[in-house]
Amino acid sequence: MAAPLVLVVLAAVTVRAALYRSSLAVFIAERVEVASPLNAWKRVVEGLALLDLGVSPYSGAIFHETPLIIYLFHFLIEYAELVFMITDVLTAVALYLAIQDFNKVVFKKQKLLIELDKYAPDVAELIQTPMEMHYIPLKVALFYLLNPYTVMSCVAKSTCAINNSVIAFFILATIKGSAFLSAVFLALATYQSLYPLTLFAPALLYLLQRQFIPVKLKSKSFWLYTMQYASLYLCSLVVIICLSFFLLNSWDFIPSVYGFILSVPDLTPNIGLFWYFFAEMFEHFSLFFVCVFQINVFFYTIPLAIKLKEHPMFFMFVQLAIISIFKSYPTVGDIALYMAFLPVWSHLYRFLRNIFILSCVLIFCSFLFPVLWHLWIYAGSANSNFYYAITLTFNIGQILLVSDYFYAFLRREYYLTHGLHLTRQDGTEAMLVLK
């Protein structure tokens, strides 16, 4: 499988290099859908220039990157394009290896459940075979590398690519079973942007499953392992933050990075839901609504953990999607990451109900974003409501996508244990609904 992967990587690198040299690079770099105040390349350059002039880059409201990014780009700023291409390639390779291992795990689990007779007799067509699962890792790498969103994000040199690669390595470490590495990468991901904190739950569930520790609230081994993992995670986070202090000898970066993510002061339009609300809101309500919106991101973790505790990888996927939809400054790079996982659930295709409408909505909205931006800002014949309408529709499409997959997954699990032909008590055919 290495050769097709190398081929895909080469194709992706060529596409990106071609776009870097074309005139589209400047156009894409300025699009608000691709570059948000958190990860725009312009701001990285500005921060490093401020540092060369002897001023702390966090003194203004421009630079919101973490000190480790300062360190990374201080030496690599001339090779920025190479860095981003390599980052994308690393992310794709990490996802490839992760999904390869994951498929082995899935297959093993399936075999175990068949031998334990947990499945109903007539579900032969629902069971995944190694034949169809053979190409899934390659498809995942392909989906990530050649996704137009990823390409645009790379050409715009948005540091979202670095965030994505850290999360990809975290997923790889989790699937390989190394709790230490997984905690380290999760701490790095949380340090970069605050929201991967919610990925703690799926990673914990996966590692518990791997160690065959049942998830029961009274079980001592469960709590022991949880404490171990949590302390590893928190210690690494503390160590990384203290290390960042020594870069500039100040704690300025904490309000600039985390205060900025949480309090959302910059209301530049993006593909998220925050900017319009807070632009229209009165001052004395903004604190309340900032809290509501931020809680909304973290809120789905516990219910999902309860429902999906047997399926932590799917939980990880849903959680990634929720982060990219509800975070304060989303960009298309975040979307590309969870879309890369879609081939893993391709066996759910027969249960998806809205896939045509969703793909149409997502594609149309992606094309309408620049059109309505032009109409609003340059032509002056539209206003922010038009752009926000497209943002809303796009996010609705994404939410429907996630919930459709959720429904399909749960439906398949139900069929696996209860048989494909469901009958009600009086013998007529029944239909599963998600309530």
């Binding site: 060369d52 480790l68 360190y71 190394s178 590495l181 290390l243 020594f246 870069l247």
Partner: protein, 343 residues
């Protein structure tokens, strides 16, 4: 300043042009007059006698002609432009004819006409200037030393309200009507179809026609113009801010440009004074030689400047700590036994 547009406000344009004519006749040149007309009556499509603006019925007096220089015309007559002219806050590209180039020895006459109310004057049917704004503008002028004495005449309904708020010194104000009264127009001309003049300005004009540059008529006579029997409204005036007694203020101080000229038969030699001025210049304060332009800019240095070295480097402790952590993580995951392969 005429602030009304549309054909039925013909009389305001005629008012302003009449005062303009009188002032020019008494010696003030166009370079010292800022004339603002909000509409063009002479070339208005509804004017049965194009290129004329009459101020007396039966078309006796044409106040328009070849020598009328309008500085602010049509839509340029706005509150903002008016205040900018007064206070001098004008963009540098404005031509001299549109500026009020007055200094602290200038006597200024301001005549405004249009539609007004209690405390405001309407500009162009879309905005108004309030008496407070006007008073503040005059105060700015005073602080910037843009006038010596100022005469403010206003011919609108409830015109006296416009001078109520003045607080700067050396301002004398006249208005055509008191608060609560309307100023009325004088007479319609059936040939043109509109009222040609307002009463107050009509009688002021009659009064001014008898003034010549040498006349000694004073302000008190101007205050008597247009009594209630003729004007129906009660004209008002305000002199409390003015330092001189109105009895002693000549009409030509404001309406005319009267210079005191003394004819002498002596000759004055100017060379002596120029030499005296030059010798007063102390030599030791002059620079030994003037600085050449090229030496003020270090051109050679700029051309051969090398790209700036990056001044900031991450502290050594940070780099050490970071790489120590990375190596620790690496060995924790892959085991110590790899160390001998590394070394």
């Amino acid at each position: 300043v005429c602030t009304s547009r549309f054909w039925f406000n013909y009389r305001h344009v005629a008012n302003t042009l009449s005062v303009y004519r009188s002032v020019k006749r008494l010696g003030i040149p166009d370079s010292h007059i800022v004339l603002m007309l909000a509409d063009d009556m002479a070339c208005n499509p509804r004017n049965p006698k194009p290129a004329t603006v009459f101020s007396h019925k039966n078309m006796e007096l044409n106040v328009y002609g070849d020598d009328v220089e309008v500085d602010y015309r049509s839509y340029e007559v706005t509150v903002e432009n008016f205040l900018r002219v007064l206070t001098g806050r004008i963009p540098p590209s404005t031509p001299r004819s549109k500026r009020l180039l007055s200094d602290d020895r200038s006597n200024i006459l301001i005549y405004m006409t249009g539609h007004g109310g209690n405390g405001f004057l309407k500009f162009q049917d879309s905005e108004e200037i309030t008496n407070v704004e006007l008073a503040d503008a005059f105060e700015q002028m005073w602080q910037k030393r843009r006038y010596n004495e100022l005469l403010f005449i206003i011919d609108t309904c409830q015109g006296a309200s416009m001078y109520e708020r003045f607080y700067s010194p050396n301002i004398m104000a006249l208005a055509s009507s008191q608060v609560g009264e309307d100023s009325l127009s004088h007479q319609p001309d059936l040939g043109i179809g509109v009222h040609l003049m307002d009463r107050y300005t009509f009688y002021v004009l009659e009064f001014l026609e008898e003034i010549h540059p040498a006349s000694q008529t004073n302000m008190n006579d101007l205050f008597q113009v247009c009594p209630k029997s003729l004007c129906v409204s009660t004209p008002g005036h305000r002199t409390d801010l003015f330092q001189r007694d109105p009895q002693n203020v000549l009409i030509t101080d404001f309406f005319g440009s009267v210079r005191k000229v003394e004819i002498t038969t002596e000759t004055l030699s100017l060379d002596r004074d120029v030499a005296a001025v030059e010798s007063k210049f102390p030599d030791e304060e002059l620079a030994t030689e003037p600085l050449k332009y090229a030496e003020q800019l270090p051109v050679a240095q700029i051309i051969h400047q090398k790209p700036k070295q990056k001044d900031w480097h991450p502290p050594g402790g940070f780099i050490l700590g970071l790489w120590a952590l990375i190596i620790m993580v690496f060995f924790k995951t892959y085991g110590i036994k790899h160390m001998k392969h590394v070394f």
